[in-house]
């Protein structure tokens, strides 16, 4: 008998705690109790890059990787189907961009302009700038991890209004920068930072991208969320027939921001 008392005490504690927890699930749940649905308007700071995955061996060293501070704003509509599970969909306008400088070795590339082709194997420094304006439409499943933490996960598709993918190739800090024309035994053409060769593949970019998004929401106040999300692109940012660069590149961008929740 003596042994049972503490168990009752524990059960009582648990019950009161869950009763209290139940209040918290409701307290931090959807504002509209009838529909269990609402909207979240988000604004955030976007950083990230566009990269081949995995990084090819031809890229020897990243000299610099500088995300250009991007911005995202948009809104999601959500509906909770149960206490823990729901879904959301929305649109997020964004600007994202990055700047990289990398040392490359035997990096196969070719350019075609107005019917002229120049290509081969480049060794030296490659600087790239990317800018993309567009809208992302995520369709996510939402899991309430706790009363105040939400995890959303699902596919997204982005459409771009304007894209830029351009850069320069020249000599690296060791003074090495050259193209072997067509093959590694072709003419060696030196490149210098005083007169770099520039490229612009903006016209060769795919106007859309699809991937997966994961988003964490923390309900900070009754109507205010802090969130962090990651968009991981699964489709090449370049047109399928684009072969100036020997590998596919994927956009990977994270957003951190605040949201108004109703």
């Amino acid at each position: 008998m003596n042994n049972i008392r503490p168990i009752f005490a524990l059960l009582f504690l648990l019950l009161t705690f869950s009763a209290h927890a139940e209040d918290r699930w409701t307290e931090w749940g959807p504002t509209s109790r009838e529909s269990n649905a609402g909207v979240i308007a988000r604004v955030g700071y976007t950083i990230g890059g566009t990269t081949p995955i995995p990084l090819p061996a031809e890229i020897r060293r990243m000299n610099g990787f500088k995300p250009k501070g991007g911005v995202t704003f948009g809104a999601d509509a959500y509906k909770m189907l149960s206490r823990r599970w729901g879904f959301s969909a929305g649109w997020h306008f964004f600007y994202e961009g990055f700047h990289t400088s990398a040392n490359v070795k035997n990096y196969r590339m070719s350019l075609t302009m107005e019917g002229n082709t120049m290509g081969g194997y480049f060794t030296g420094c490659d600087v790239t700038n990317t800018d993309m304006w567009g809208v992302t439409i995520p369709i996510l499943a939402t899991l309430r991890l706790s009363p105040r933490w939400n995890l959303s996960f699902g596919p997204y598709v982005s459409f771009y209004f304007w894209q830029n993918f351009s850069g320069e190739v020249y000599d690296n800090t060791d003074g090495i920068g050259y193209l072997r024309v067509d093959t590694p035994t072709g003419e060696k053409v030196n490149m210098s930072r005083n007169n770099p060769a520039t490229y612009d593949f903006s016209e060769n970019m795919r106007p859309w991208n699809a991937g997966l998004e994961v988003c964490f929401d923390l309900k900070v106040m009754k109507h205010l969320n802090a969130f962090g999300s990651l968009d991981w692109g699964l489709s090449n940012i370049m047109d399928p027939d684009f072969d100036a660069v020997a590998f596919k590149m994927y956009p990977i961008y994270a957003t951190f921001g605040v949201a108004y929740r109703y």
Binding site: I47, G48, G49, T51, I53, P54, L55, P56, A57, E58, I59, R60, R61, M62, F65, P67, K105, N106, L111, M113, E114, G115, N116, T117, M118, Y121, Y178, R180, V181, T183, P184, T185, G186, E187, K188, V189, N190, M191, S192, N194, N195, P196, A197, T198, Y199, L218, A226, G228, L230, I252, A254, F256
Partner: protein
């Protein structure tokens, strides 16, 4: 705060992913970069001590060393500098490839051509080279060029024409060939047909009904714009066109002249010129009030400085180097400081009709006989369809036709 931390973690993850490079790929290149011969007394066998070492441009696969005509050459220790990790092989007398070790002796007697094979570190690529030691042979000074010996360059997929010289001119033309900017034009305009290059032969259109040479100032297309080299002057000269520097330092790409043991006094040529419409500057902006001019010149210069170093004139100083002792050039206007003056009233006198022009060499210094006999002076013969073409200025569409060039040397030497 937690936002910042998660941002940092995420960025760190991205950066880590970017930084985690896989093993460095093995070198794919397989060049001989430098060749050197080892003689006990190089100055006894060669004209300059630096003649024992040759830097090999990437487009060159045949290296020849010049020794004095009385030099007896047998086995010579040889050193090759090849691409890092590449393996050199030497073809033995019985036709087998044997690994070549630097410093080992190679039989260069009887001007035999020795063959080398270089295999890249990744074993996927190879190149073949020839190395030979040749004796200098006495030759006459006077030379004639009729531009009849041309063919599509077999080493460049027959994309453009090349011209060989014959007779005693062979000595003063590297590889016995005229050089021009065609290999550079190929880089920028791969779509060009052979007769759309800046330097092309015109069969049957010379003043005598045989082939002549046409130099044309051509637009370099989108790749030319990319590197801000928007036009290519047609050119023809003796020396080396180092395509490696065509983009990095275009003036350095044209290396003028070869040693010449005679005193040139006169150059004559049949010339004709059609002027392009608009003179443009480096950014392709039209320059009003300026017309383009063709150029032809002959230069005689000291090819060694006071310290005994090699002097090689290139696009920077071909007409202005202090080592020039003799010069003949089509007439142009010059500013008071000696620089080229762009005008709309050229005085070169070349018209749309064939005419023969004769230019006398003007010497600022009499060549020294002993220096001359020791290959201490170099001769340059050069033509260009745009006289400012080295600076990528000129009129696209300039056409400069050339035939029957004669170089006359002093017979009293």
């Amino acid at each position: 705060m937690s936002k910042k931390i998660s941002a940092l973690i995420l960025l760190g993850g991205l950066a880590g992913m970017m930084a985690s490079c896989t093993d460095e790929p093995l070198n794919a290149e397989c060049d001989i970069e430098v060749v050197s011969l080892h003689f006990e007394e190089p100055e006894r066998l060669m004209y300059h001590d630096y003649d024992t070492l040759q830097t090999v441009p990437s487009v060159v696969d045949s290296v020849s060393f010049l020794v004095r005509n009385y030099a007896r050459i047998g086995s010579v220790p040889l050193t090759l500098r090849v691409t890092e990790g590449a393996t050199p092989y030497l073809m033995s007398a019985d036709g087998q490839w044997e690994v070549f070790r630097n410093g080992s002796s190679v039989d260069f007697s009887n001007e035999q051509v020795r063959r080398f094979r270089i295999v890249s570190q990744d074993k996927a690529w190879e190149r073949f080279y020839k190395i030979v030691v040749l004796h200098d042979v006495p030759s006459e000074g006077d030379m004639s060029f009729d531009f009849e010996d041309y063919q599509l360059d077999p080493t460049n997929s027959e994309k453009f024409y090349i011209w060989s010289v014959k007779g005693n001119a062979v000595n003063v033309f590297t590889d016995g060939m005229w050089k021009n900017g065609n290999p550079g034009y190929k880089l920028s305009k791969s779509s060009a047909k052979p007769d759309e290059y800046p330097s092309v032969p015109l069969p049957g259109q010379g003043p005598d009904g045989s082939a002549c040479l046409k130099l044309e100032t051509c637009d370099t297309g989108p790749f030319g714009r990319m590197v801000n080299m928007r036009l290519a002057s047609g050119s023809m000269f003796n020396g080396i066109f180092d395509v490696a520097n065509a983009l990095k330092d275009a003036l350095k790409a044209t290396q003028f002249g070869s040693p010449f043991k005679h005193k040139p006094v006169r150059i004559s040529a049949w010339l004709r010129f059609e002027r392009g419409e608009t003179f443009q500057d480096k950014e392709a902006n039209p320059v009003p009030g300026v017309v383009d001019e063709p150029d032809m010149y002959m230069v005689y210069y000291r090819n060694q400085d006071e310290q005994g170093n090699r002097v090689q004139l290139d696009g920077n100083d071909i007409l202005s180097s202090p080592y020039i002792i003799g010069l003949a050039r089509l007439p142009h206007h010059y500013n008071a400081d000696g620089s080229d003056q762009l005008t709309n009233s050229p005085i070169h006198g070349v018209t749309n009709e064939w005419q023969e022009f004769t230019l006398d060499m003007k010497y600022t210094q009499e060549p020294d006989r002993e220096i001359m006999e020791n290959n201490g002076y170099s001769l340059v013969i050069g033509f260009a369809s745009s006289w400012q073409g080295a600076y990528f200025q000129g009129a696209v569409g300039n056409k400069f036709y050339i035939d029957n060039v004669h170089v006359t040397c002093d017979r009293n030497e």
